[in-house]
Symmetry: C2
Subunit: 238 residues, 2 copies
DNA sequence: GGCTTATATTACTCATGGGTAAGAAAAAGT
DNA sequence: ACTTTTTCTTACCCATGAGTAATATAAGCC
């Protein structure tokens, strides 16, 4: 994981890069621990003392990496949102009918809901955020909702989806998906993969037109699952 | 506000009854105010001071009616749960196929989600409750989930519902419904009635067998809505 | 009226936990 | 080795809000 050229005193930049990388790794470690604890106990019951304890440091050390508890909460949310932005961009860029895009969206979203940062998108309360951050979150949520509606509208236009109310359909689908974030837990009987496959089919079959109703791939469990929505998500810069 | 028959010394019971009734009314007023505030701001941000303020009393006065903040939270939840218990009992007692029961359940549940106490079922966090109360809540949630699965299983058995995985189907449906509690708000474009009708159809159409696919009643908006699940729910004793 | 009980208020206690100050320890730079 | 910067700790501060004690007020009751 560390194939640097040499022990070199040659480049005074290397240690610098090293340092920044170490810092970012620690930052991420804090977020991973925090998101877990927040999900486990709820944001208000979770204390920074315990976050720190789990990292074998003390509370004030956290303030080297984050400005406040709320800041940590927001960053957790942001990581989840990045995932979503990533696969939405990928699907947007794909060339397929509305129904196909919708299916892809449902699939990816379901998988995301089964991750910690993904679940934080729906388990965290925007009201715990500063007005500025809450605004960002609200905008992002609106964006997701509009993506659902857009694919549905597209599908109706291209004939792959039956005419229906995109607003209601989007609410119903997103509700099912968001709820995954509340009931899914690792090690349960259902794997994220199975859930995503099932939901992608279940939540869209009612919308498909007769002609677009493909004869059910009936995937023979050959683990065709290859790309777990590898999205070109650019790392945040700030 | 005080239409008592007379100044009567005739019945010493009446004042007593009056008093008890007045007390219960105040209790309920507290719960109505509390549930609103809890939904508005979230349980942790909402203070008993503000609950009291909205009732034009002071915080300690609340302790005449409730033992603790958590007690209030639990009672709010319990009122919502009573509604659910009520209509589940009614549907259980009805004589119809599994699909019909499921539709009825979805419809009633959707309506309930659009009420304050109903929303509290999914917006409140059981982890805020004492272990004893949390246990009650968990049991109730399990009960609801099992009811969904039971109707689906019944439907499969009686041929009104296509063979499917009841667990997944229940999760998907309940998720859509629960999410209503998060996005619905009074005065919006969608009325509880419209939502309930739409969801009852939307969430069950995918499960219906061909033969059970009734030709869509197309209710002429005659406000057939009469009994809002008047349930024989006995008032809690303790 | 006077006695009792219910209900409300004012004025507190007190645990909790986010956040800060001052300085030690470790690492980087020279 | 010495200095400087980053990172972390110990020891605090302090706002908040649930819950309590003591007491006043009002209502029911005889």
């Amino acid at each position: 994981m560390d194939g640097r050229p040499a022990t070199d005193q040659t480049s005074p930049w290397m240690p610098f890069e090293n340092r920044r990388r170490a810092r970012d790794e620690k930052r991420e470690a804090v977020l991973r621990t925090a998101v877990q604890l927040f999900l486990e106990q709820g944001y208000h019951r979770a204390t920074l003392n315990e976050v720190a304890e789990r990292l074998n440091i003390t509370k004030p050390a956290l303030y080297n990496y984050f400005r406040s508890k709320e800041d940590i909460l927001f960053e957790c949310w942001a990581l989840g949102q990045e995932q979503v932005d990533g696969f939405i961009a990928a699907i947007d860029g794909s060339r397929q009918a509305g129904l196909g895009k919708l299916r892809a969206l449902v699939h990816s979203y379901a998988e995301t809901m089964a991750t910690d940062f993904g679940a934080s998108l729906v388990r965290f309360d925007p009201r715990d955020l500063s007005p500025a951050n809450a605004k960002i979150v609200r905008a992002a949520k609106r964006g997701i909702d509009q993506t659902f509606r857009r694919y549905i509208t597209e599908g109706i236009a291209d004939g792959s989806i039956k005419p229906c109310d995109p607003k209601m359909a989007a609410f119903a689908i997103a509700g099912s998906l968001n709820w995954i974030g509340h009931w899914y837990q690792r090690g349960g009987a259902l794997t994220p993969d199975a859930i995503a496959d099932d939901f992608a089919e279940r939540l869209t079959e009612g919308l498909a037109t007769a002609r677009s109703n493909k004869p059910r791939p009936k995937k023979p469990a050959t683990k065709t699952k290859k790309s777990t929505t590898k999205a070109p998500t650019p790392r945040r810069t700030k």
